[in-house]
């Protein structure tokens, strides 16, 4: 079955929040279940960032025990490295997915660990933006989808160094076409890339198939400078850059298969995030009403 048919089976999750192991225990961190109780329209699902070696923390388990919707965000696979798909890791992914029962798998399609998958090797780098790398990435996505039975949505990663001869959106257009899958468009990461390359926030979007966008991420970032080199740190602060809002507000109305939007602010208290949630909810209510039903429904 082709993606165009498979996507119809994916649930419309709406606006959600993210977490990863230990994030909810940080001082002043967002309490996702309290948010769900107080503002269900802002926390309709939880995206659970998972390293299989760590598993699920008490916050993720509590969410799952209430039977609430989730997505599975992998933090430990280099999709373009065939050696990464060992049986032990795949077994652990399947076991964790059986617990959280996600709507799909997703996550940054880059380098999550240097060397082999091992303690102390974690980092996150974007892929090399070439055709060969895109094809290897697509092969990994198909492999993970077939091994788990879940849709696998690649996400454009953040970075301070992007190498290659393709625009990031052309790279991921090739990935999703070859893997016949959907895309998790991280608008903050895209804004980071566009600024580093000297592009306008929306550059290249006209060449990306909007019907492939299933999920979007929105997050704040901080402008940094070092020895004259300027970049944006993807720190998930509540301060969403204007460039990121420009991308979000352009893409949402144009993405007919959009199922989910995550406001990534997991290490911040609700009062600091309230404006961002409200703005996103209002945007979805006007431009994608199926993703923002009345709070009573």
């Amino acid at each position: 079955m082709r993606f165009a048919d498979r996507v119809a089976r994916l649930p419309r999750l709406g606006l959600g929040v993210s977490t990863e192991y230990g994030a909810g225990d940080a001082a002043g961190a967002l309490d996702v279940l309290a948010l769900r109780d107080a503002h269900p329209e802002y926390a309709r699902f939880l995206e659970v960032g998972i390293e299989t070696v760590k598993g699920l923390d008490r916050h993720a388990r509590a969410w799952v025990e209430r039977g609430l919707p989730t997505t599975y965000h992998y933090l430990d696979v280099n999709l373009d490295e065939p050696e990464d798909f060992d049986d032990a890791w795949l077994d652990e992914v399947r076991a964790l997915a059986a617990i959280i029962r996600p709507a799909w798998l997703c996550g940054d399609a880059g380098m999550w660990h240097l060397g082999r998958r091992e303690r102390g090797h974690m980092l996150l780098l974007p892929p090399i933006l070439t055709r060969d790398a895109a094809d290897a990435m697509a092969d990994g996505i198909v492999r993970l989808r077939e091994a788990t039975g879940f849709e696998v949505l690649p996400e454009n990663p953040p970075g301070q160094v992007y190498l290659g001869d393709l625009h990031l959106l052309d790279f991921f257009a090739r990935v999703v076409e070859r893997a016949d899958t959907g895309m998790l468009l991280d608008c903050a990461h895209l804004a980071i890339y566009q600024r580093l390359r000297g592009h306008a926030p929306l550059a290249g979007l006209d060449g990306f198939p909007p019907e492939r966008i299933v999920e979007m991420h929105v997050a704040g970032g901080s402008e940094r400078r070092h020895d004259g080199f300027a970049w944006v740190e993807d720190d998930h602060s509540p301060a969403v850059l204007a460039d990121t809002w420009t991308i979000v507000e352009s893409v949402v109305p144009r993405a007919p298969e959009l199922r989910a939007v995550v406001y990534e602010c997991e290490r911040n208290p609700l009062p600091a995030c309230r404006d961002g949630f409200a703005r996103l909810h209002a945007l979805l209510a006007s431009a994608a009403p199926a993703l923002a039903p009345d709070a009573r429904s």
Partner: protein, 251 residues
């Protein structure tokens, strides 16, 4: 797959300021031995040097995490830690998809004499066991050494030296011969190292990658077990979970 090679060079540049400086000064020399095409080399050279230092604390963080696993070795050669990211061991580990902990152990041990090598071997063995994931089950009919255990051969006296260094003293010399020790790293407990009788070491080493019960029994007899005693020995190793495998017990 040169995109993978290129990305691994990026990782090395993010950790090793000397390589970043060499790339700016003499790209051909800096990238010697790495299979990159002309375009890939040009992309690296065109990257602003400051872009490799946007997280200048990263090398220190990684090094501190590694150093925490090698306290005794670093008590002997503290000057080795700061040079790790410029070492061939680090660069090979990244470029060849290896292990940073193993590379760190090699780097510490390579230039410090027999005492340093012995202690680095022991701490490296613990670090390696900590990183072993869930092993697949043994093949049917086979027994295998449990994944939290490793038999390591080190210079005689290495265990006493390690204990002395951990206690904050200098420790003595080590002998010319070697001896087997058992490294035990339980999933949720503290690592230990204990002496191992040569006969038992031979049995456990034989089972490292999986072996039939009959082969193990034959080895036990060769190591001096009395007739009938070999089954008791193997059963005991299965009972205390040193050996794993379906059908490990006779009955």
């Amino acid at each position: 797959m040169s995109h993978l090679a290129l990305r691994r060079v990026v990782v090395r540049l993010l950790h090793d300021p000397a390589l970043a400086a060499a790339l700016a000064a003499d790209p051909d020399r800096a990238l010697a031995g790495v299979e990159l095409d002309a375009a890939e080399r040009a992309w690296l050279v065109a990257t602003p040097a400051a872009a490799w230092r946007t997280d200048p604390a990263r090398p220190d963080r990684v090094r501190a995490a590694l150093a925490a696993e090698f306290p005794a070795t670093l008590a002997l050669v503290p000057e080795r830690a700061p040079t790790f990211f410029a070492s061939p061991f680090f660069h090979a580990a990244v470029q060849e998809r290896g292990s940073l902990a193993a590379a760190f152990a090699e780097h510490l041990a390579c230039d410090g004499g027999s005492r340093v090598r012995a202690v680095a071997r022991l701490e490296g063995a613990i670090a390696e066991r900590r990183r072993v994931g869930l092993a697949p089950p043994p093949r049917p009919g086979e027994l295998r050494l449990a994944s939290h255990l490793a038999v390591v051969r080190v210079a005689t006296g290495a265990l006493d030296l390690l204990a002395a260094l951990r206690a904050g003293t200098r420790g003595g010399s080590i002998g010319p011969g070697d001896e087997p020790v058992l490294v035990v790293v339980p999933p949720d407990g503290e690592a230990t190292i204990e002496p191992l009788a040569p006969a038992l070491a031979a049995l456990l080493e034989l089972a490292r990658d999986g072996v039939s019960r009959a082969t193990l029994a034959a080895e036990a007899r060769r190591q001096g077990a009395d007739p009938g005693e070999e089954d008791e020995i193997i059963d005991a190793l299965v009972s205390d979970r040193s050996l794993v495998g379906a059908g490990g017990l006779r009955r």
